[in-house]
């Protein structure tokens, strides 16, 4: 083989070189590379020894018990699967248990971003409430303004907008310029940051959809969450192959198609409340 590069020598030292036998053979025969490897080995040994002087504080012998005290109240019992409508009740019970037992607080509900998403939903409730009162027709049954129906309307509006923004971000990412095999790095930090923000909202909407028993929306949001997670966890800069892999993940699950279909369904359902649907339709036209 040719003289191994510094990267190959480090990989060989780590036992991770794809061609370790070839590198070993070369080192036996080449004095220059053997000397280079000896210097590298000495340098890395010293580097790791220096880093080993960084101490980790001792959390104490009772640390495990302290962690358990913090974690235990936030764990929901793992219930056995139930059949029929009862399973939906279980999901609702879990949601309420999670909320009041502090699970959502434990996940950082009141971090600034989630608080913003939550505040956004709360603001929409107020807006939808007054908008609903303003546009109510005389022939609309009173039952349609029950708290549950109002929450469903707010969910439709909020999720519709959320899907519009998600679709826009994923479409932009899919259309980002970049050669499949190119080594040039492409900055996707803006999309990544947007995916992080959308992820927080998505979790909140999915949980609300589950509470309201809207399994279809919850399922699409669940699929969307996985794709958003992929994007949010990608490096800030990706090469052509990595970008292509992200695109394939977007395309494989057909998430853009699902988002569009559900978005259009939501528009249909929103038409029952025209004052609220105007904003949603405007948003989707931008996509």
């Amino acid at each position: 083989m040719t003289h191994p590069s510094g990267e190959e020598l480090i990989a060989y030292r780590e036992g991770e070189a794809a061609e370790s036998a070839a590198v070993a053979e070369h080192l036996r025969e080449c004095d220059g590379c053997r000397a280079k490897f000896a210097r590298l080995n000495e340098e890395l040994t010293a580097l790791f020894a220096a880093l080993d002087t960084l101490e980790v504080p001792d959390p104490g012998g009772d640390y495990g018990q302290r962690v358990w005290k913090e974690v235990a109240p936030k764990l929901q019992p793992k219930l056995q699967p139930l059949r029929g409508d009862a399973s939906r009740d279980v999901e609702r019970v879990r949601w309420r248990q999670g909320l009041f037992a502090g699970q959502l607080f434990g996940e950082g509900l009141f971090t600034p971003r989630r608080f913003a998403a939550f505040a956004g939903v709360a603001a929409l409730v107020v807006v939808a409430f007054f908008a609903g009162r303003g546009v109510r027709r005389p022939d609309v049954p009173v039952a349609n303004n029950s708290p549950v129906n109002m929450r469903e309307k707010v969910l439709l509006l909020a999720v519709g907008e959320h899907l519009g923004r998600s679709e826009m971000m994923l479409t932009e990412l899919s259309n980002t310029e970049g050669k499949k095999s190119g080594a040039q790095l492409i900055d996707i930090s803006i999309e990544q940051k947007r995916a992080e923000d959308l992820l927080s909202e998505n979790r909140l909407y999915r949980q609300t959809a589950m509470e309201l028993g809207d399994g279809r929306i919850a399922n699409v949001l669940d699929d969307l969450e996985r794709v958003l997670l992929d994007v949010a966890h990608s490096p800030d800069e990706v090469n052509g192959a990595q970008l292509q892999a992200i695109r394939e993940r977007i395309e494989t699950g057909g998430i853009l198609f699902k988002v569009r279909v559900v978005g259009e369904e939501l528009e249909e359902r929103q038409r029952a409340t025209p004052a609220e649907s105007g904003k949603l339709q405007n948003n989707r036209k931008k996509v």
Partner: protein, 214 residues
Amino acid sequence: MTERTGSPLEGDAGAIERTLAGDRDAYRVLVERHSASVFRLAYRLTGNQHDAEEVVQEAFLRAYQKLEQFEARANFGTWVYRIAANYSIDRMRQKRTEDARREEPSSRAPESVERSVMNLVPDGRPSPERLAQNVELRKQLARALDSLTQAERTAFVMRHWHGCGIEEIAAALESNSGATKNTVFRAVQKLRTLLAPVVGQAAGARAMGSKGVA
């Protein structure tokens, strides 16, 4: 009977099985057994105790929520490591973004680390013992680690302090093994460059010392 009581001697597999069967307290065995090692990993990933403790708690919460996805043949400790590493990447990335908005970047620039590390060794012959005792130097080492991206830091810490394989690290980074090897390599190269002035001389001093003994 002893299996049902959640004895500390119970294996991970038994505790997982009972947890999945609805016995929430069985999870306590796993939390108490693995908390300290997850804390060590989390501390090295985050560089401070507060974030490390948050990562530990969140890792065990997430592990509980995803326990159905855990494969029985896998190692629970390794699995929860992966979850902790993955969460700490998110947490520290978000924190860095927020810090970057508030702080001047100059204090974290890699070249400032190198300069200050060089200033620490004016006589050129620090012994390994002196290195270990030098509190200021440890701050510089910590700062060098801070200069890595969170993915590089995670890859390096998992590899060198916790002996994780490339596949495990790749799973934590949600990447492939080729890209993960590159990430480990980049981390090592950055640390070599940043710490070369000190480490190189320390190695030289050690080499001279060993020759003297021989």
